[in-house]
Point group: C2
Chain length 166, copies 2
């Protein structure tokens, strides 16, 4: 591939035929984030979450020359203070050779449009602190870090132990 | 009230009659977090989110002597890496005079039990970095900070501007 060739792309809401590609890109994202050891997702589980009887998440895909080269997966969160849902972006990924062609920004623009159309005031996502290129990109779009908040997680044995006391 | 008297309490899933009390406690939490200027929640909006046609959140309430003195409000988030839902605790609050009587821990225990019963591996929430008593309490239960992640938010004019380009 000529890396300097203009790369055209199309965005669309994901459908069931995209699940295998989304899983492929989730694995590529985990590799980039040095978190591959955490990935246990299967196509069946992802299919259920996206298109099962009670969908839990939604996704957009970006295609170039009919191939899925990027995706965004999101769900709605909720602010009690605003008494309003927000859009929470769980994953955003564009294949390395397609970066710089505007696909990432187009996915974020589309999600911002979805957020506003749904009456949401907030569009949020988490970023690894060492991922400076991503942070600069997000800041350039007007996103701001919630610097005074830290997410705490109870998982594994600690979660089981607390649950056992319930 | 005798602050040293043992305080008995009962936990239950919130119902529609609890909405006014939950809103009162949301406002008290915002005041504690020095974020009262952000609160625009109304009883109608909260009623819709909890008990409308498409509920977006769930809540537990703690009663003492028939009065609601604490609550936890939560929703399900999602991990693509685990291909699994998790429990996300948006708000936890116990009235100051009822702290130290185990209500906060009982609410967290019950939520941990709900998470495990639903097959979730993760129970998460965000804490203000200056809230040291809360952080020590959460750590004592085995919760760990996701120190290398920062949440970014696109809101207000920046969200509208990006959406307008979609």
């Amino acid at each position: 591939m000529d890396r300097n060739a203009p790369k055209t792309y199309q965005l669309s809401a994901a459908t069931a035929v995209d699940v295998a590609d989304i899983l492929r890109l989730i694995r590529a994202l985990a590799e980039y984030e040095k978190l591959s050891d955490q990935v246990v997702a299967t196509e069946a589980a992802l299919q259920e979450a996206l298109f099962g009887a009670t969908p839990r998440v939604e996704a957009l895909v970006a295609r170039s020359a009919s191939r899925v080269v990027g995706f965004a997966l999101y769900f709605q969160n909720y602010s009690t203070f605003r008494a309003r849902s927000g859009v929470y972006l769980e994953d955003l990924f564009v294949e390395p050779e397609y970066r710089g062609s505007g696909i990432g920004q187009a996915l974020l623009r589309k999600l911002a449009g979805i957020a506003v159309a749904r009456g949401c005031e907030r569009f949020e996502w988490a970023v690894l602190d060492w991922n400076v290129p991503a942070i600069e990109f997000y800041q350039s779009l007007g996103a701001r870090p919630l610097d005074d908040w830290t997410v705490y997680r109870l998982g594994g044995d600690a979660l089981q132990a607390l649950a056992a006391q319930a």
